[in-house]
Subunit: 269 residues, 2 copies
């Protein structure tokens, strides 16, 4: 099938999913939407995040994608079921893939999860993990300071390292053997997080794992792209297109076409 | 859903899948069939392997499983499509999960595959890998001597190490960064294979990866087990139940109930 995979996120975080889809499924065309005007989603109410997600999905449907990927953990936690119920195409979130990968990885049964306030409050990872394996021990922590750093493009600064250290300090004594990066923005900070957590904690990127599950689902539904031509991806963002383009090109390591989309002020009735 | 997952193999190899299903999906009940009377499948004709696979599936259907797992690469290579077309329940093979994991793992784009003669002759891994990622380089080798060693329970003997060394000698100079264990018997020999291939080659177990994809598919179809009670697994084999039980208990590290099944001599018409 030559239709695109539509990927959405609150901002640039979903680019970590997009990059892995490009690497693991090089024949698939991607349409990406980053809601950079309204990032971060983490501190917002579930109702607001659900409303925003529906809006973006409506925008993306005009391109007739074959699959929707909610590449934002906060939106997956609160909106996945609604979006899935509404659409006839497959809708993939980023929480269950990370949970399954952590269950496959852990040997001592103790898994750490870091995410936004919205994701951690929802207990979505605990629910996903215990649905599959009831006796798994889970230690969660919200890290509200990390997404804004990534949206500013600050991945490897001293300030970033310091914030990551302070944020994760409480987790370093927990005898977990893997830590789920439960926000698609966090793989941008892998180096800093890995330095703090040390070599005995395997980092699970929900982005990498989601790309693999996209591959699994497209295969089982007979929906893999069959063309050998190189796909041309499209990127949309609701905020500053220059910052988005700068981060996207640096992360994806290729020329990126970014189209700005401006949310309309609603009519007052 | 409380129905079992049915797993079949030419012998004890599929126990590597069963063990990972038990670990990654501890609530799921397993019904296992090992066709130890007719192992190995590797040197058999595709027609014969297809016929055997249909027979075992027929046997397993009496238990009304919710999913069939063809935990044998040789049978997956030649019979998966037929079995899938015939049944309304999900049918999972072991080749695509390994292929997807290798694509996720490789950084240099060169992947090795070892398997039985039947699997390697079918080019099933090359096809699966290139369907997803056309420019992947694949180096394959059949290893007909390995399955008989495993079926005899010889996992860590000097003889085994020697045979593995001789078998893989040609592959050690190939600059691959991962090697797919394209036979579910091979994880029994992980130590020996790893010693020969060295630390720079990541071994991909099609067994481990298949367990994870079983988890993915059951979740997306809403078919995960919901009971918290510990499932009681059932094992059937067509050959010597004592050797099967010995290997199963040692590999699974738990008491195993094995029921022997004797294939009937066909009526002459």
């Amino acid at each position: 099938m030559q239709q695109a995979i539509a990927i959405l996120d609150s901002g640039v975080g979903g680019l970590t999913v997009a990059k892995e889809v490009m690497r693991q499924l090089p024949q698939e065309k991607i349409i990406y939407f980053g809601d950079t005007a309204r990032t971060p989603y983490g501190p917002r109410s579930p109702l607001e995040v659900i409303q925003f997600t529906h809006q973006i999905v409506d925008y993306l449907l005009q391109f007739q994608p074959k699959m929707i990927v909610i590449a934002c953990n906060t939106a997956t936690a609160v909106a996945l079921d609604e979006i899935r119920a509404r659409l006839s195409i497959p809708v993939v979130g980023v929480i269950h893939p990370g949970a399954r990968a952590a269950i496959k990885t852990t040997r001592n049964g103790m898994i750490g999860v870091i995410g936004t306030e919205g994701t951690i409050k929802s207990s979505a990872y605990e629910l996903a993990l215990r649905q599959i394996s009831p006796h798994i021990q889970v230690v969660s922590q919200s890290c509200p300071q990390l997404v804004p750093l990534v949206e500013k493009g600050l991945f490897r600064t001293n300030e970033t390292q310091l914030v990551v250290e302070q944020t994760l300090r409480n987790l370093t004594d927990v005898p977990m053997d893997c830590l789920i990066l439960g926000c698609t923005h966090y793989p941008f900070l892998t180096e800093a997080i890995s330095t703090v957590m040390g070599p005995n904690v395997t980092l699970i990127s929900s982005a990498d794992e989601t790309a693999r599950e996209i591959s699994t689902i497209l295969y089982h539904k007979g929906m893999l792209a069959t063309s050998n031509s190189i796909p041309v991806h499209q990127f949309f963002c609701s905020g500053d297109p220059y910052m988005f383009k700068k981060i996207a090109q640096s992360w994806l390591n290729e020329e990126t076409r970014v189209t700005p989309v401006v949310w309309q002020v609603p009519h007052i009735i």
